[in-house]
Structures are given as structure tokens and as C-alpha cells.
Amino acid sequence: MTRISAITPRRGGVDRRQFAAGAAALGLVSRPAIAATKLKIGLILPMSGYLAEIGQDDKRGEVLAGRVLPGMGYEPFEVVVGDTESKPEIARAVAEKLVNDGCHILIGAFDSGQTIAAVQVAEQKGIPFIVHIGAAPQITESGYKWVVRNFPTIPMILDDSFLNQKALFDYTKTAPKTVVLLHTNDTYGTIIAKGTPDLVAKHNMPYKLLDAIAYDPTAKDLSLEVAKAKASGAEALITVSRVNDAMLITREMVKQRWNPMGVMTPGPGWSDRPYLQTMGKMGDDVLSLLPWFDPNKPLSKRLVEEQAKVEPDRQLHVNHVLTFEAIYIAVDALKRAGTTEPNALMKALRETHIVDNSSISPAIAFDAKGQNTGIKNACVQNKGGLLKVVIPRSAADAEPVWPMRPWDKRA
């Protein structure tokens, strides 16, 4: 019976769920019959539009999930991808469509605005929503009942990035005395910039923040911004940028012959493949302070191996891992719930406790607000076109190069 209702277009949303819950309560539906219901996951990503680069990269985790999870003893599942076209309006419409098409659980959506637009639908319909990437604190602070997030909030990322820096300075016994912050004026960059001065004080950092320079996300030329940063006389650069800006900034630093002790970023861009591929040697030694995976964990090794089979020339990236983990969380919840009935599934999601994970956290688990509070950053360094974890040492697979090599000493 559940099979039939799963394919029947839903009307109003409530009836089927009530029916399923009622049926389960009366014991009309036996467990094996429900377990036979294939879990249908709606994966909401910006596959086109200005965020397409990251959306399409995230989707690679879905391919890995399809290849790895069945071997881990999970039932077969189905993933349907919905494209937000990088617009909140479409994100919401696509969430409606996926729920209408019978998805039991939604995953998404990278961009916080689109995530929140899609979450409205999950809340309305009572469908569990797993945020795989999406850092706005509001996602888990707005009292949503159907949301869990396996990604840190921006304050968590930022706070952790300072701990990573301190660990790096301690390990290499070298620290800059001054830094300058150069950041894009988008959602993420602004929050980071606002939080930085307080955290420098809170963590008693060995350096002084000399200046914070904001630039427009659509800037096509960053020579001025880099010159200003250089002119501040800072010993190291902390930056938040998108991948295109990261390339422009690097080129300008080389051209303007500015060799700081290091470039550190608590954001994306500098660890993206186009950056590594286009910048070559000049892209080396940059440090990204980001949520990452622990390359030494067994699951990570398994994912690396599988990724090498799918696309030999593309290294496993945290974008893939987080999408994978979100699907992992979903199928794990189904296994424990034994039903796709939303309330039971959501209850199982809240009780998630996965220790065999890949990201740097002791376990995948959620607090009362649905937030995984244990998820941590790593300090990831670009080395010969590959990304290597250098801090924390417990998750490291390479030694840090710090201070970074001058531009003209990179044979």
C-alpha cells in the first residue's frame, strides 16, 4: 500500500502522511513491506546559474554515494536532483516539485538564501531536510523543526580557523606579527570580516589586524585592492574570495612582488580545482581553513579510492564528501527508522550517531536545534596541484610549508 501511495501524486500532503502514520500505528503495514520502499532523496543544488560551478561539483558526492553506500550494508536508494538555477524562487519551486514527486527526504542547497527558501517547503509539508553545505546561522537558529545540518555555521568556521592558525604557528614556531584582511563583500565575506577583530582579541592571536579591505563580488580587477593590502605592510594575508577573485589576487600579488609570510583563507575559492589547475606553481602553499575530511579515516580512504575510479584526474574534495555524508545520514536514518514515514524518519535523523564518518568530527550527530556541533575545520595546503591536510596534526597527511615560498623561488 505504501508503494502505491508513494507513486500517487500527493494532494495536500497531509493525507498520505496521516494515513501512513495511522496505518503504522494500527500495525497494518508490516516492517518488511515498508523496508521494501526505496528511499527517494531529493538533492537540491544550484546546477545552473552563477553557482553552477559549486553545485555541479557537489553532485559528484551523489555518484560516490551510489557506489559506496550499498557496500556498507544499506538498502538501495534513489536520488533525484533538482536544479535551483541559483535563484531562491526556483529553489522553493523545485523543493515543492521534489516533494510532490514523492521524495521522502530533501538535501541541499549550498547557498543559504536558497536553502532557507527550500526549507520553507520542508517545514510546511513535514519532510526532513538535511543541509549538506550552507553556513548561515539562521538555518538552525530559526526554530525549524525538520532541519538538520552536517556543516558548521559561519561563526563556527571562523572561530575554528583561528584555532587552526594558532596550531600552525605553534607547530612551525613561526607567526606573523601583522595581518591584513582582504574580502569579497558577499554574504560570507561580510560575516567573516565582521567577526574577525573580536576573534583576534578573543584568541589572543600573536598578530595585529592592520586593515580590512572589502571589494565588490563583481569586481573584474583587483590590482588596486592588492596594492592597498600590500601597502598596509602586513606580514600575512587573510582573505575571503571566490575562485575567480582568488586567481586575480594571486596574479596581482606575483606582479606586484608582494611576498607575505602566507595566504590564509577561511573560505572557498583557493582550494577549488580551477584555481589549482590555472595557477600551477603560483597556487602552491596557500592555506585554506575550512571544514574538511580526515584523509586518514577508513571511510575517507574508501572515498578517495572510489573517486579515483570515477574521475582519475579529480582529487576528492570536501564538496563531494559533504554531499556523500548527507546521503549517508539519510540512508542511515531510514535503516534505523525502518520506515519512510516522515515523523519516524525525522526522529531517526535527530538520533543520528555515525562514527564511521569522513569529515573531521568525532561523529555525525545533531543537537536539539539540528546542528552538528562537532564538525571541525582543517588547515589544507595546496601542494603541487593537490590538497593536503597539514593541521590538525591528528588528521594530517603532509607537513606544512610555512612561511610560504617567495614567488620567484618556485622552481
Partner: protein
Amino acid sequence: MPATYANILISGALAGLIYGLSALGLSVIFGVVRIVNFAHGEMMVGAMFLTTLMVNALGLDPLLCLPVVAAVLFVFGYLLQRFLIERVAHLPDHMQFLLMAALATTLTAAWLMIFGPETRGVRLSYGYDSYEVGPLILDKTRVFAAAAALVVAGLLFAFFRWSATGKAIRACGDNHTGALVVGLDVRKLYALTFGIGAMCLGAAGAIMVMLIDTQPYLGPQYTLLAFVIVILGGLGSMAGAMLGGLVIGFSEALAGVLFQPSLKSAFSFALLIVILLVRPQGLLGKRA
């Protein structure tokens, strides 16, 4: 410090010349065909992808690819006018706008499907070189790029000034009916003009890859930038487009030095609004 900022102003002006060349494409088309090309940026992104592809596959310098890319864009522009835009020439502005916006959507989607979403850049052997002139450091790619932009613009000026076809096109632009009366093949001249305009932004695109990396969604930014420049210089005025580019490149750099860099594009839009209000025909434009 003054030398640093002198550097910045100069590099802003150099970049402005390339923006000017791209805007020239928009201006030539508007000046004659009276169509505002809202797919301007998207067409240029196509040229940038083509150049990147050639540079990375054949190991050529972008400036050597320029003639090929410009030629491809010329053909594209010619055919576009002949088979599509010609049919909306008599329609109201908003219809033309919608057609061009639809074209822009289709082109962007095509770039995404063909080239994928990832940013693509080129590596140049001289990519990090610079000239030292006294206290100034001039970035080599920018100098090359600006020089190329000037050469292309110069050739175009010469064409419109001295060649028979160029004169005929100008006649069309000045007086459509008159051109018909004296027996000019206006349809063909319009198509040629659109082709030349597209060629301009093809050349600009080929040059642009020396400064910026390409991805499918850059289009609207360049369309807006070109609008700002041509209105500043005078919609339809060729010299105005180059001057507008120079002014924008220079003033954005200046705004960045004086205020927060994040406000520099607000500065260009403010400049645009002021110009539209005080001198709607632009710096070098004739009153319509």
C-alpha cells in the same frame, strides 16, 4: 606610496581601454542599427571561451588567436542580424529587449552545456612579467592588452573614415531613408555593421582572457559595464566609447583609492546617473 597609486591609476586606465573596445561593439551597433545589444556580454563570453580553448589546445598567444576569434564573431553577428534581429527592427524597444534577453539566456545556457561550469584560465609565459619605468611598475599583460585594444580600435576608425563601405555604413546610421534613396543595400550594410560590432567584442574577448578567467556567467556584468561606458561616452559615438572606457577604468581606480573598493562600481553607476541627467547624449554624443 604615490608611485603605488600612480600604478593603480595607470593600470585602471589600461584596463579601461579594453572595456572601451568591448563597448565600441555595442556603440557601433546602436549607432547604425539602433538596437541595444542586451546579449553583448554573453557574446563576449563566447569569444573568451573560444580564445581560452585555442590558447590551451594549441599553445598560441591570445593575441594570435584574436583575428580568428574576431572573424568567428563577425560571422555570428552578421548572421544574427540577417536572420533574427532584422525581423524585430520595426518593433518597439521592449520587444527588441526581450528578444535580446532571450538570446542572452540561450547563449549562457549554451556556454554552460558546452564548456561546463568551471572557471577556465590561460597561462601565459609572460603572465607575471612587468616593466619598471622609473618608480612605476607596468604590468606586461595589461600593456600588451591595451595596445592591442588601441590597434583594433584604430583599424576600425580608419575603416569607417576612409573605406567606401565604412562611409556607406555611416550614411545609413545618419539617415536611413536617405541611404535607401541613394540606392544603398541597407539590409546588407546593417548586417555588416552588426558583424563589425560583434567582431569588436570578439577582439575584446580575446584580449580579456589575458586579464580575467572565463566562466559562463560573466555575461551580465560585461553587458552592464558596456552600457555604463557607452552612455558615458555617448551612445553611438565611436570615440566616445573609447573615452568612456578610459574614464571608467580611471575613475573606478580613483574611487577605490579614495573610498572603500567595494563601492567602486557604485561609483560608476552614480557617474552614469549624473551623466544621464546632465548630458543624456553622453560626453561625445550628438543629441538624438
